[in-house]
Amino acid sequence: MKAISELYIRLEESKNLDKKCDLLVAYFKQTSSEDLLWSMSLLLDKANKRLVPIKTLKEWTLAFTNTPLWLFDQCHPLVKDAAETLALLLPKSVNTTKKPLFDWMNNIEQHKKSSSSEKQTFINHSWNVLSKNERIVFNKLITGNLRFNLSQKLLLKSLSDAFDLAIPSIAHRLLDSFSPLDDSFENWLFKPSAKDVNAKPYPFKPIKKLKLPLEKLGDAKDWIGEYLWEGVQVQWIKRENEIFIWEDNMTLISLIFPELLDAQIFSGANIVLQGTIVLMKEDRVLDYSQIASRLKRKSITKKTLSDFPAKMLINDVLELNGISLSKKPWSVRRKLLNEIYPTLDNKLFLLADVIQDNLWGPFRDAHKDARSINASSILLRPIGSLEKEESPSFLWELDGFSVNAVLLYVESSVDRRSINALTFALWDKNELIPIAKVENHLDDELKREIQLWVRKNTLEKFGPIKSVKPFYVFEITFENIAESRRKKSGLTLKYPTLGKYLKEIKPREAHKLSVLKEMLQKHIK
């Protein structure tokens, strides 16, 4: 219990992913294999060890410590977390036990069926031998409130670093259910399974951005164009009647899209499709923010499924009937796609129309229309291109621009309950110069996070507008840029909108104002 509790507290304290990964790797290496499978079920938030509701635990703690209820009520708002408040009310811990995690988990499991007074005795005894941090984790565990909230990607990376295993062949183990009571860690992680092979995706090839004029690509007739939408780039794999969905960052995201997991979707044998999963409403592809919030969910409700159904827009077929198509040119693969498509469920799968012509003109028209149908770019592929060979495909992005900017001002709504608008800025030497004010299109979770943060990080107030410390970096997209003498930045952005929250980018690493000035120069020419 000691090691997992320290891990819980330290993971919570570390702000960057590398550090979290180091902590996990160190933990995996130090922990006995008897404890490791239990640890995995805790780290994956899969262990349900609820013995009592928090309300009961509160009653028992107050009785155990002789604390009046009103005193608990004084403390709780300061600590915020009820399980932690109860842990802190306990007498200072003196003797702590080295009892291993699996023993604790077995004890807890055994007590699930105990009478209430047996549970209470067990819990009181446990408190007596646990340290401060262990009591916090223990209280959360037995009330069903322990959450590590770690991403699959982080856990996979840590496991693969610690035990020297390849991510694609172990990912499925994290998704499947397992029982630490009847299984061993060695079995779970190392025992070869058919899925190790079946789940394996093909490498995701990065697509180059088109930076040349179209004509430089040669003859239009040698190219095929296709719209791409903002969504999740995936490989949809069906092998031996099981479906695996991989995101292009090597995360196995099958469970996020249950609507795409029915083996009946495709009646044929083994197949690997590549494409984009998008959320749709009445035939319109929804903004990326919608699917981003689905990716964060642990479980997908029926309501989400019916309100914002997911569909996959197929771009490519990489394997058919167990045979890799990497040696076949794109024209052949596209023909195969056309043949397979009618056998797929057309409510769930869409095959993008292609843009093909002897001249570049129609490509340009399609490019111009892209925004009106919410497409994000056009994928250009040479007809002869092989999946694995050089002749590259290109991503032809829309004529929009984007910069990574720092949040500078936050404007509250009149009732102060919400955020109206956000002003973003870029660096000019050590100063932040405002460049755009955008409407608040934040999802609720992020909005709440920012509101809380603003409360503690306001530098100055001007009516409803607060200036804040440089911290949040967002992508700001806009359609055009022009000179403006009236503005401090010397330029104005047309139709700026709030793009993605760039969590990984530090405020210092946001763009400089000079980046916009260069865009302006190029554009005027």
Binding site: I9, E13, Q74, V79, K80, L89, K92
Partner: protein, 329 residues
């Protein structure tokens, strides 16, 4: 008339016409210790423990009129006997004992139990009425042994050093800073203190009441990899360091006892280390004073006084200047 009363200027002994830790300018002020919420500028005459004299001069002004006394030394003013007794909070910190015709009051000022090896440890003083602080007067505040905390601090530094990072600890320049410096591992070869801490240390060392030397952090200090810096949080010196070095920040304070406060400060690590008594020690101190009546001030006084009343003690509260002067008569 009570021996001591709470007035708009602060705690007052009318019989002797002196104040204890007054927050407005007065003639005669008895000062428990040098922290700015207790030792205000502008009084005509200061009286304190002798180790607080140099601190008061350093923080308030060279030319203030101040007189220092030994612990236990009796000061008689208009028939009222005053004396200072160790409070164990910071160097020079004292409780004030007030006696008149056999009636004894004790004002604790800020205090902690246990020996921090920097200042004289707290001594319980028997009295009829105890005026106690209650900064951490809630049962969620229970300190672990300081030895453990110093081990954690030293370990944290070693980890940062291994990663070629600079460790920065935020601490009050008077009290916490000296205590941490004193207990840092001998393995830490590069220790720097922000000017405000360095200058405080210099004064204390010159007066023979502190003995741990360290270097001053200056803009010229070039190699900070693996170093440890101790600084008040308001310091701007860090801005420059942050640009050239990878730093890890920590705060050492009793408030670090909850995950929530650790999360809300922009720091990497929180160490639970306080110069105030925790819940258990407040109760111990009150019990050992054998006071019949307890007046709670400076912190969670309402909750703490209510708890004491429920234990059967005669308990009430005083508000300090910071919490609502308007409620005072």
């Amino acid at each position: 008339m009570e021996l001591l009363s709470n007035t708009k200027n602060g705690l007052y002994c009318e019989m002797a016409d002196v104040y204890i830790d007054p927050w407005r300018k007065v003639q005669k002020a008895l000062i428990t210790h040098g922290h700015s919420d207790h030792a205000k500028p502008g009084h005509s005459q200061y009286m304190c423990h002798k180790n607080s004299v140099s601190i008061l001069k350093h923080r308030i002004g060279k030319n203030i009129k101040v007189r220092g006394y030994n612990f236990g030394e009796s000061i008689s003013i208009n028939g009222v006997k005053f004396s200072f007794h160790p409070a164990g909070h910071i160097i020079g910190s004292a409780q004030v004992r007030v006696e008149y015709k056999g009636e004894i009051w004790v004002v604790t000022g800020d205090y902690k139990l246990g020996d921090d090896e920097v200042c004289t440890p707290f001594e319980p003083i028997k009295c009829h009425t105890l005026i106690t602080e209650s900064t951490f007067g809630l049962p969620i505040y229970k300190w672990e042994s300081p030895g453990n905390v110093f081990n954690q601090i030293n370990q944290w530094w070693a980890e940062n050093k291994a990663n070629k990072q600079t460790s920065v600890i935020y601490a009050y320049s008077l009290g916490k800073a000296q205590r941490i410096l004193k207990h840092l591992s001998k393995d830490i070869d590069k220790i720097y203190a922000h000017a405000s801490i360095y200058n405080t240390n210099k004064t204390l060392i010159e007066h023979g009441i502190y003995d741990t030397h360290c270097e001053e952090l200056s803009p010229k200090t070039a190699d900070l990899n693996g170093a440890l810096i101790i600084t008040p949080q308001s310091s701007t010196a860090l801005k420059n360091i942050n640009q050239t070095h990878s730093i890890k920040t920590a705060m050492a304070s009793g408030w670090m006892a909850t995950r929530n406060t650790r999360k809300n400060r922009l720091i990497d690590k929180g160490f639970v280390l306080s110069d105030h008594a925790d819940w258990d020690d407040l109760l111990t101190a009150i019990a050992s004073s054998e006071a019949e009546r307890v007046i709670v001030t400076h912190g969670y006084q309402e909750a703490f006084a209510r708890y004491l009343s429920e234990l059967g003690l005669k308990a009430e509260t005083y508000k300090t200047a910071f919490e609502g002067e308007s409620t005072l008569k």
